[in-house]
């Protein structure tokens, strides 16, 4: 068996392990929420206030003193494993994340289980990689394979899981692990569906795009989602930063305070408790008027920022979906209320808002589009979802330079490459820099092809002042010329800019 085949088989195994673990995680959260909050019917008032307080507080203490590796964002942790620690994720972080998040989310903390599930999946993959003594390079690839399995099992969305790992965790396409990511996600989905059923996350009533005017509403939702994503991410980061400046003795109490605040708000708006999927389901079935939906979006934004910032264990996926869903539903309801062009079903706007806000916060527009389809099992609103997601994504990029996870990573002291940066850093090719002939004679010059990377041209330019750029076809045609000066001007448009030693144009320029 080749190494590649072994890796693929291991991916399936990782998916099975992650699927089982995440299924148990999901069930444990449900059971705790039944007993702590009396969900789904509701509980006594004192329980609504005290449960989130105790759950979040104790989970916060647990990750502070017992399982520090389970603190913070699972996505940052997983990316760190890929880019910093060669795929190493300790087994204790899996158990720690499981225990802490069951306690906090199950008792009502306004955070979600997907981000922890992603970390648990990556952790399972890392442990199995070590058990099977994978090579160092394979170990770095194994964490995203597990991450995809974790997300797929938590959301019951294998396509979303694959795309999210490519867009956010790997920050780019990697042919080497794509097959493994797909296999692990599929394997985890099969396992979780065997235990939890194959229904989509939400049961969505029938909907249809009734009038072109709805696209304008969708674009409006995208615009507001983009702006709110700035507030959401900004408040999260700011509170997380501020929490660091509190005295050491106060910090352990912050999760208790966050839980207490959550409980108090839940007395008025019970929908803010926990991951919020029940609230989203209710919004999809037109249970809330638009004003309540807006209030829920704002309350959840504030409580998520306070909880995550104060160190309550849990993820940001579910609250982001919740805020987006409520925002979309609220704005859709508002449009229906004031706009004479009778807009469509409320549930459509809930889904549009969900996707748009997700795209804006995580900067993963492809993932968010597919996620909307997978969690709702409907594709009739593809057009408004695409429009809203694109608008939200662009507005978010205009308002915030980095995505939420990039900023969180920076805040935690690590910096990962992003999809945007990778696109900007594409290696230049000869055709990007070459100049027209303008009557110059190129006979006797070495040749270079337009699609070759500039590095190849640079090597040849060590021995020549200029090169002829010729096509690959037969007969070859001279397309232009590339000189040392051209490369120098392209690399440093500003002549005063510092040039590192050994580069063309520097004092130590070779040859």
């Amino acid at each position: 068996m080749t190494d590649t085949q072994r890796f693929l088989l291991l991916s399936i195994l990782i998916g099975a392990f992650a699927g089982l673990l995440v299924t148990a995680f999901h069930i444990a959260i449900e059971l705790v929420s039944w007993s702590a909050l009396g969900l789904p019917t509701g509980a006594r008032r004192w329980s609504t206030v005290l449960s989130p307080c105790l759950g979040a507080g104790l989970a916060g203490l647990f990750v502070r003193w017992v399982a520090p590796s389970a603190r913070g964002s699972g996505i940052i942790y997983t990316k760190s494993a890929i880019y910093v620690s060669d795929g190493y994720i300790p087994a204790t972080s899996i158990a720690g994340k499981f225990t802490a998040c069951v306690a906090s989310i199950g008792s009502g903390a306004p955070l979600g289980p997907e981000d922890p599930a992603l970390q648990m999946g990556a952790g399972v993959a890392s442990v199995l990689g070590r058990v099977f003594t994978l090579a160092r390079d394979d170990m770095r690839h194994i964490a995203p394979v597990g991450a995809a399995a974790g997300i797929a099992a938590a959301f019951n969305t294998p396509i979303t899981a694959v795309l999210f790992v490519i867009e956010e965790v790997l920050s780019g396409w990697s042919a080497g692990v794509f097959g493994s990511i797909v296999l692990s996600a599929a394997s985890a989905s099969v396992v979780s569906r065997a235990f939890l059923g194959d229904d989509p996350l939400f049961t969505v009533p029938d909907m249809a795009l009734r009038a072109p005017a709805e696209l304008v509403i969708a674009a409006g939702i995208g615009l507001v989602a983009g702006v709110l994503s700035r507030v959401y991410a900004g408040s999260l980061l700011s509170l997380k930063e501020r929490a660091k400046s509190w005295p050491a003795g106060v910090a352990p109490a912050l999760p208790f305070v966050a839980g207490l605040l959550t409980g108090l708000v839940a007395l008025v708006l019970p929908g803010v408790l926990g991951a919020g999927y029940r609230g989203i389901d209710a919004a999809l079935h037109s249970e809330f008027p638009w004003l309540t939906l807006i209030a829920l979006a704002l309350a959840k934004t504030a409580l998520t920022a306070v909880s995550f910032g104060s160190g309550v264990p849990g993820g940001l996926f579910a609250p982001t979906l919740f805020v987006g869903a409520m925002l979309g539903g609220g704005l859709g309801g508002l449009a229906a209320f004031y706009w004479p062009l009778a807009p469509g079903a409320m549930s459509a706007y809930v889904l549009i808002g969900m996707g748009a806000f997700f795209a804006a916060v995580f900067r993963t527009p492809m993932t968010s589009i597919f996620m909307v389809f997978e969690v709702s099992a409907t594709y009739v609103i593809i057009l408004p979802v695409m429009i809203a997601n694109t608008v939200a994504y662009l507005v978010s990029r205009a308002l915030m330079r980095h995505s939420l996870f990039e900023s969180l990573g920076t805040e935690e002291g690590v910096r990962f490459p992003s999809v945007q940066e990778m696109r900007a850093r594409r290696a230049p090719r000869v055709e990007d820099i070459m100049q027209p002939l303008d009557g110059r004679d190129v006979s006797g010059l070495d040749e270079v092809h337009p699609d070759e990377p500039i590095d190849a041209a640079l090597l040849k330019l060590r021995a020549a002042q200029a090169l002829a750029v010729v096509s690959r076809g037969a007969p070859p045609v001279v397309l232009g010329i590339i000189s040392r000066d051209d490369v120098r001007k392209w690399l440093w448009p500003d002549p005063a800019e510092h040039r590192p030693a050994g580069t063309p144009g520097s004092a130590e320029e070779p040859g």
Partner: protein, 359 residues
């Protein structure tokens, strides 16, 4: 790689699968039991008028067991009854996805469409009539049809309403439903069909005053005053306080007694009745027009001469009736619509007018 490692990994996988399986089994059992108990509690609450609490329980039951269409349907019904049709619609769709031929679901869909002003409620009613109902199902189908007829009457589609009701009349054995069908047939402009249903009803329920009253109404609407009067009298014999039967009996009897066009009358009797009709119209006119005004130019002068027999011309019934129609028109111009005591005259004259003044 040592086989021991493979064995350990396999054992770990089995162990995790066993734990998850046990947890999942417990979870699903508990979920189903919880859902069933919440459903029963919600159903009881809705039945006893505590809609708010009932809806919350039903919502929770559906949340726990989303695949159960019964939960979605009852929740949708409770929401509709609580005047929240938009919410009800979304839950009902889920129930209908699981069971699109369900009669109750299609009936509720029709009601929601009516409440939301959506088109196509009639199609949902039709599906409800032909859909699957819990046994016994005939009454439910009839009720759906009766509701459909009411809906069609509401949108001014009387011909279709009549067609539906004629179809229902065949199966409407049960007296309350037969009465509804007969009433709707009357409203839909089908007095003969209504009379047929009511007649069957009086045969089955001879001591039911409402059945006789319905027959009287139907006969009256069909213009068969003698039959209407007879049926109304039967209704009054059972219940003297039946107000509508009293009216029909009074008007129909008066028409029968006054009608100069009735069959098997001698010429003299016809003329006597025509004169009596004219006299009553003159009296009605005089009752609302002051005497001083009448002196200035009486439009009823010719009619008065005929009634007082002060003319030398030979008068026939047709001429008297023509005078009666003219006098009635003059009365209407001065006095407005006829009062209840003039109902019999109004009825007779409208009939003459429709027939071109020819008895």
């Amino acid at each position: 790689m040592q086989p021991r490692v493979y064995a350990a990994v396999f054992a770990a996988l089995l162990g995790l699968a066993a734990v998850t399986s046990a947890l999942s089994g417990y979870f699903h059992d508990a979920k189903e039991a919880r859902a069933a108990s919440l459903f029963e509690r919600g159903r009881a609450a809705v039945a006893t008028g505590r809609a708010g609490a009932g809806i919350e329980d039903l919502r929770a039951a559906r949340e726990l067991d989303r695949g159960n269409p019964r939960y979605s349907l009852l929740l949708a019904t409770a929401l509709y009854e609580a005047d929240r049709p938009l919410e009800a619609e979304s839950y009902l769709e889920l129930a209908m996805r699981a069971d699109p031929t369900s009669g109750p679901a299609n009936l509720l869909r029709a009601r929601i469409a009516r409440a939301l002003g959506q088109p196509g409620a009639d199609a949902w009613y039709e599906r409800a009539m032909t859909g699957a109902w819990p046994e016994p199902d005939d009454d439910a189908r009839l009720d759906a049809g009766i509701e459909l007829a009411g809906y069609l009457l509401g949108i001014d589609d009387a011909p279709r309403a009549r067609a539906v009701l004629v179809r229902l009349a065949v199966d409407a054995d049960d007296p309350p439903r037969a009465k509804q069908v007969a009433s709707l047939l009357l409203a839909a402009g089908g007095p003969d069909d209504a009379a047929r249903v009511a007649r069957a009803l009086t045969t089955a329920q001879p001591h039911d005053d409402e059945a006789w009253r319905l027959l009287a109404d139907a006969e009256f609407a069909a213009g068969r005053d003698a039959e209407a009067a007879a049926a109304a009298r039967r209704a009054l014999a059972i219940d003297r306080s039946n107000a509508r039967a009293q009216v029909i009996a009074q008007v129909a009897s008066a028409v029968v007694a006054l009608d100069p066009s009735a069959r098997r009358l001698t010429a003299a009797e016809r003329l006597r009745r025509a004169r009596e009709l004219l006299r009553r119209i003159i009296d009605a006119y005089d009752a609302c027009v002051p005497e001083a005004e009448r002196m200035e130019g009486d439009p009823l002068a010719a009619a008065r001469r005929v009634v007082a027999r002060r003319t030398r011309e030979t008068v026939d019934v047709d001429a008297v009736i023509e005078l009666a129609i003219a006098a009635w028109t003059a009365r209407a111009a001065r006095c407005g619509p006829p009062t209840a005591d003039l109902a019999a005259i109004a009825r007779l004259l409208s009939r003459f007018e429709a027939a071109g003044a020819r008895p």
